[in-house]
């Protein structure tokens, strides 16, 4: 019954962009205990600040997202959790020494393209696949 309830909640919330997600009941439960739930964090890397704009043409910087937080049972309604993560969280709850907590990791990744000059003034456009974290979840 827990899994069914969670599936329902997942279906409701998974399509929302991260910033639009409103904290659920369980989120408050975790926050009140002083723990941070698994979510996407943002860190802007500026090529201007790195003094690289003489060779990097575009972009001027990028949002280097990363996943951080805990995957504690019950897994929060707003995150993508695999069936295995749900099961692992339950086992961890019962036998903490036997199984570690599920891991907070990227669930969707996208590419980033960088345009830059090389030493010979040739221009290079390089695509780095699976570089930008689009969403995080428990695995």
């Amino acid at each position: 019954s827990v899994r069914r309830a969670m599936k329902k909640k997942e279906r409701k919330t998974n399509d929302l962009p991260q910033s639009n997600i409103v904290s659920g009941k369980y989120d408050h439960y975790h926050e009140s205990e002083g723990r941070e739930m698994c979510k996407r964090h943002e860190l802007y890397v500026s090529f201007r600040d790195l003094e690289w704009l003489d060779w990097v043409i575009a972009p001027q910087g990028y949002a280097a997202y990363y996943c951080h937080g805990e995957c504690s049972f019950p897994l929060d309604s707003c995150m993508n959790a695999t069936n295995h993560a749900i099961l692992q969280s339950l086992v961890h709850l019962m036998k903490p020494e036997a199984a570690p907590k599920a891991c907070c990791a990227p669930t969707k990744l996208s590419a980033i393209s960088v345009l830059y000059y090389d030493n010979s003034n040739n221009v290079i456009l390089k695509k780095y696949r699976n570089m930008v974290v689009k969403s995080c979840g428990c695995h």
Partner: protein, 257 residues
């Protein structure tokens, strides 16, 4: 101003210390697979290779990165990039690296020499990404309206790979691509030179460059300058260049930190 507008209020933005800056620089260069930061020559000292064309490609690729999270999907190619090579949209979508090369050498046999007239170009393809194969390569040259008596005629523009050059006799040539275009037309011409670039990758010493001829319907040779082709001495945004599309053989392996 971007940060002040609170578009991304959660971004961490503070002044980095010298050590932090160096660490971040090293980390990013390692991800990019570069041994150190490139040091391009400042503008004016050396011609740079088609940054505007590459910027258009960047925007096409970047919008694709935004739209498609999982798989590469073909998107419409911006009008400035549309060329005679049919599958360019797919080529862009599937490319891991695109490089535009500076034209290093330009030789002419023009109206001051004997016929037939020609123009030669050479590109240094030794600085290539490791572990990637060429999927397409184009030689791009800008054509303005033709001058002289051939303005109402059709021009047949042929691009050859120079296979072997001889001191006193004609070089051995291999035909790569032909375009037929009205002399009054103006715009970028793109020639498919994928076959030659693959040969040059395998054997860089065989890279002797490209030669371009222009003929009228009757086979009469036309001087490329009079036909309106822009060379190395033309305006910077219209200088000829070579663009090569690469695809990685394997996903890059990163050492764990």
């Amino acid at each position: 101003s971007f940060l002040k507008n609170h578009l991304h209020s959660s971004f961490i933005h503070r002044k980095l210390s010298g050590r932090e800056k160096k660490e971040i620089q090293r980390e990013i260069l390692s991800i990019m697979g570069l041994p150190g930061r490139p040091r391009p020559h400042s503008e004016g000292k050396l011609p740079s290779s088609a940054p505007l064309f590459m910027l258009d490609l960047y925007h096409a690729m970047a919008s694709e990165d935004e739209d498609d999270v999982s798989q590469g999907v073909s998107h419409p190619v911006p009008s400035s990039l549309s060329t005679q090579i049919p599958p360019l949209g797919t080529v862009i979508s599937e490319a891991d690296t695109v490089m535009s090369f500076v034209n290093m050498v330009e030789q002419d046999q023009d109206i001051f020499h004997q016929k037939p007239y020609w123009k030669e170009f050479k590109f240094d393809l030794t600085q290539l990404p490791k572990g990637e194969t060429v999927t397409a390569a184009e030689f791009r040259i800008y054509k303005m309206k033709s001058f002289g008596r051939s303005t109402n005629k059709t021009l047949h523009i042929s691009v050859y790979e120079i296979n072997k050059s001889h001191h006193k006799r004609e070089s051995n040539l291999f035909l790569l691509d032909v375009q037929n275009i009205a002399a009054k037309e103006e715009g970028w011409l793109a020639f498919d030179i994928t076959a030659a670039s693959n040969r040059w990758l395998l054997n860089p010493k065989y890279n002797l460059g490209l030669r371009l001829y222009i003929e009228l319907d009757g086979g009469q040779s036309v001087d490329p300058g009079l036909a309106g082709l822009v060379g190395r001495r033309g305006p910077r945004p219209k200088q000829p260049f070579l663009v090569t599309f690469f695809r990685a053989n394997q996903p890059p392996i990163r050492a764990p930190r």
